[in-house]
């Protein structure tokens, strides 16, 4: 499996990660090596094997529908990088608004 710099850039875009040119170069090699190592999984016949996403394989864990207290607004905003005291602030998201 040979990765290209375009592959790395595409995945970085999907993952919302800004990489430096040096990181992009490094990841072409490093991720390529890791994916090459992982190729060995193809030696194993997995026809008719069910994927195992979880070891406990629990389904439908319910709790009683009782309201419980949660954090308040002040707490919710307390770690935010930017707020106006009521809301999380983000850069403008609509053109011309």
């Amino acid at each position: 499996m040979q990765l290209t710099i375009e592959d790395v850039r595409k995945v970085a875009k999907l993952a919302r990660l800004k990489l430096t040119p040096e990181e992009e170069e490094l990841f072409v090699d490093q991720l390529g090596n890791i994916l090459n190592y992982v190729e060995q999984l193809n030696e194993v016949d997995t026809e008719n094997v069910l994927p195992m996403a979880h070891t406990a394989e629990l389904t439908n864990v319910f709790r009683t529908d009782e309201p419980k207290t949660s954090i308040d607004r002040r707490e919710a905003l307390s770690n935010a990088p930017s707020t106006d005291g009521k809301y999380f602030l983000v850069p403008q998201i609509l053109e011309g608004a």
Binding site: A15, T20, F27, L31, I34, P81, V90
Partner: protein
């Protein structure tokens, strides 16, 4: 020397009136003040709150009020477990100023048991790594040789217990992150069955693999700590609602006719000869204790690392998408628009290994590759779990090295991520299969570095695992060795 005593010894000092909890906590804070500059295990100590809690315990004891099972015992906490009001950094620039709004169930259970959080310990950023070198905050050094890494990701907790700065500590284990540093630091480290300890308030790395567990210097102490933190919790939907047996293993006898499985393929390329010798000797010790040794075939064990390094990064890429520079965590100063803000904040906030894993995960989950990588890895995961199930029809526990080498030098593996990943070759299977595992001291190399032995048991058989481990501990003295302290 108070700070060199184990939990059972500290408890008897308090019940006999020879020491107060305040004196015990202070002795450990003093040890940290003396040792931490050299070892770098702690990121922060909670001096004031720890002494306050100690005073409360001492007062209760004086009045004859009921006390929890770990009353007055200090414990170090890996810095990916939330404690209300304290920073939970995950050793990441992303969360360096993040203060937890609530306390994790594991830590709350400790507080309810009377234990005293002493401070937060270093880790590989977001628990991704096997050496603590991926911490964005500081290096942690192995107390046995400060040129060496303590292992990881819970290297701070392991080094703290090994260097007698804390008698016990909590860590988390996603692919060996408790057992491997325990082995490299010469102490006991245990990963319970998946679902035994609530993950509520544990910062998520790979949710189907993450499990909280204890570090200690004896099997009894590890059992006492595990018993205090485990239990069903409504706030973690993967917490299991099963029987939680008593872990007072000092009352339990050795296992008669213990059947131990060994896997010949474990003893191949990459295994350090001194580690192999220690494990061979351990097998011999068990034989002398009456155990039967059974050779096992684990056909898919060799694919564990490859499957893990698809599954764990895939889950991580999903879990870490929450760090967006909006609700909490680092936000970049310079960006053009919302997407640019996400990208710059994450690019600046995450270190190289975290980025690497997010990238692998995003790649494995991306359109066109999902079946070939992620789904394939999940199928191999089932085959590995089935191998263990079949093995446990023939044996009670499986024995192996914990790590292929003793502690390696800081910087030795940092240029080769794949070499670093292969450190987890013996530990990863337990996470993929969800079964419990323990690492206990099993020898020393010629250079005086500790060697760890791993035992694995079927799901929910922690009592069996602890009894088997204690048989070895009782017959050997490796766990009594202690690294030299700073003058």
């Amino acid at each position: 020397m108070i700070h060199t005593q184990n939990v059972a010894q500290l408890q008897s000092l308090m019940t006999s009136g020879e020491a107060t909890s305040r004196q015990i906590v202070q002795a450990h804070l003093d040890a940290i003040a003396q040792q931490n500059e050299r070892v770098g295990a702690f990121l922060e100590t909670f001096d004031e709150s720890a002494l306050q809690l100690a005073d409360q315990i001492d007062e209760k004891r004086q009045k004859g009020e009921p006390l929890g099972p770990l009353a007055g015992i200090p414990v170090a906490i890996k810095d990916n477990l939330c404690i209300q009001g304290e920073v939970t950094s995950c050793a990441s620039k992303m969360l360096s100023e993040f203060r937890s709004l609530y306390t994790s169930t594991a830590v709350q259970n400790l507080l309810d048991a009377g234990a005293i959080p002493l401070g937060r310990t270093n880790l590989d950023e977001f628990a991704m790594g096997s050496s603590c070198e991926n911490s964005a905050i500081q290096l942690t050094r192995n107390p046995w040789n400060t040129d060496c890494a303590p292992g990881g990701s819970s290297g701070g907790s392991a080094a703290a217990v090994a260097a007698r700065m804390a008698p016990i500590a909590l860590g988390s284990d996603t692919g060996g992150s408790i057992r491997q540093p325990a082995a490299l630091c010469g102490i006991v480290g245990m990963k319970p069955t998946y679902g035994r300890v609530s993950r509520y308030g544990l910062v998520a790395f790979a949710s189907s693999l993450d499990q909280i567990g204890p570090f200690a210097r004896t099997v009894d102490d590890a059992a006492a700590l595990l018993e205090a933190v485990w239990g069903h919790d409504d706030r973690d939907s993967t917490s299991v609602n099963v029987e939680f047996p008593s872990l007072n293993i000092s009352e339990l006898s050795p296992i008669e006719n213990l059947r131990i499985g060994i896997v010949p393929e474990h003893y191949g390329e990459g295994l350090d000869p001194e580690v192999q010798t220690a494990i061979d000797n351990a097998v011999q010790t068990y034989k002398e204790l009456g155990a039967e040794i059974v050779e096992l075939e684990m056909k898919h064990a060799k694919y564990g690392v490859a499957a893990y390094y698809i599954i764990a990064p895939s889950e991580a890429s999903s879990n870490l998408s929450r760090y967006d520079g909006v609700h909490y965590g680092h936000r970049a100063d310079n960006f053009e628009n919302l997407t640019g803000m996400y990208e710059a904040s994450r690019g600046e906030g995450f270190g190289p290994e975290v980025k690497r894993r997010i990238m692998i995960g995003a790649y494995a989950l991306s359109s066109g590759y999902y079946d070939a990588y992620y789904l394939k890895a999940l199928k191999i995961r089932r085959l590995i779990a089935q191998d263990y199930q079949q093995a446990f029809e023939k044996v009670d526990v499986v024995l192996s090295p914990t790590s292929p080498t003793p502690a390696f030098r800081i910087g030795e593996l940092s240029d080769s991520p794949l070499q670093m990943y292969l450190n987890d070759i013996y530990t990863i299977g337990a996470n993929l299969a969800g079964i419990p595992g323990i690492s206990i001291p099993a020898g020393h190399t010629g250079d005086g570095l500790p060697v760890g032995m791993q035992l694995l048991a079927p799901a929910y058989e922690e009592v069996r695992l602890l009894r088997a481990a204690k048989m070895f501990e009782s017959a050997t003295e490796f766990h009594l060795a202690q690294p030299a302290e700073a003058p």
